[in-house]
Symmetry: C2
Subunit: 240 residues, 2 copies
């Protein structure tokens, strides 16, 4: 006989590419960046060099648009052996300002699902990135009032989730995380014995991808097609 | 007869230039930046232009090293009318990495004061800037264990402090803030009816300066010469 599942008390949502579109904004900026450097190098070379620079610089700059922009500038200098012009670098900084001002486009079903959950669960956002940028997106999203708590963190590891649960005095078995990144939103949450639902986004940053070998270690992994499936999933869990 | 002052339960410290040196790191990077651009413009012009750019970009980039670096790059492009070289911009990015890796130098008396307060008060840090950078400095400071709570915020306004007090269920009359910035650490805290102690640092970023007219509106403003005076001040208050 299996023990009945503990009730879910607190549901946390990742923000970028879970509540609203984000990767598209980076992808678009990256396309513009490549277009800018095409006179110097070929597309594949620019793309792979930028990806490497981003990963290399994560330790210095962390996640978010400002760090990405500094990586674009550094890539531009390296790939052109310093021949990139001031005007071209200025265009990269303008890309950053455009990214920061991009409208916040909610994903399908997000608002209706939140309105159904509100009052029945403690709802929170756990997101990583630039502090000001994430706050600004939350403020512009129109959905901030659905959430009881907001946590903007520099990285999402098992210890990050443990600290947050401790802070809100929530035990792991009463916690559910919903997000699009297996690496950041799902696996570390399963690692601490909480539940997590993966809703994949049409595009994933390579750095957030997880190998099939590692995924095989998580037989309890649950995927939903989109946010609308969250409500029926919660009903099934509560009946178990 | 004056009402006796409420007991202080929670003490919050600003971090940069209150717990450890910070402005010097920015000042040094700025000197290097000026040295780099001296072939193009004179020192005063570079300095004032960078200051303007920083303020202008705060709304986009917020506080912290990454935003400051993007402002240095943008200033370099503008002041040289695009003639700045890739190698020079690369040196600016290297300045950012040096700033981010600077050792954390605690200010005098900080550790001994914290060790005396620990256990008698709820102690916390309230700091603004880049999330990853502030976390990294806290981790390297060696004093993180003295604090019960850490709050890294994008700005320090009266509403910021109100939200934090609400979060920790602390009433304003039981709260004391200690910091070097009148604008960020002191005046907004006095505005919400809590207490605040100003410990000035030898240098203040112009953006954080407050006019005498505004200061005149805060007769309750209390200044300490350095952190060691905090303990005697607390003793006096508790005897009142």
């Amino acid at each position: 006989m299996t023990k009945p599942a503990a009730p879910i008390v607190r549901i946390a949502f990742d923000a970028d590419d879970t509540l609203w579109r984000n990767e598209d904004i980076f992808a678009h900026a990256q396309d513009e960046f490549i277009r800018l450097l095409l006179p110097y190098q070929n597309e594949d070379f620019i793309r792979s060099h930028l990806a490497e620079m981003q990963i290399h610089n994560l330790a210095h700059f962390g996640y978010g648009i400002k760090g990405f922009t500094l990586s674009m500038i550094e890539t531009a200098i390296e790939l052109t052996e310093g021949r990139v012009t001031g005007s071209e670098i200025h265009q990269i900084i303008q890309l950053a300002k455009i990214m920061l001002a991009s409208p916040v486009e909610l994903l399908e079903h997000v608002e209706s699902v939140l309105s159904q959950l509100k009052g029945n669960y403690q709802l929170m956002v756990i997101t990583k990135g630039d502090l000001l940028d994430q706050e600004s997106k939350l403020a512009r999203s129109g959905i901030v009032d659905y959430f009881d708590d907001i946590e903007i963190v520099s990285d999402k590891k098992a210890s990050t989730y443990q600290q947050i649960l401790q802070r809100y005095q929530c035990s792991a078995e009463n916690f559910l995380m919903v997000g699009n990144s297996l690496k950041s939103d799902i696996l570390p949450v399963l690692d601490i014995g909480a539940r997590a639902l993966h809703i994949s986004y049409h595009t994933t940053w390579a750095h957030e991808e997880v190998s099939d070998d590692i995924l095989g270690q998580y037989p309890q992994l649950t995927q939903l097609d989109d946010m609308s499936q969250l409500i029926p999933w919660l009903s099934r869990v509560s009946l178990r």
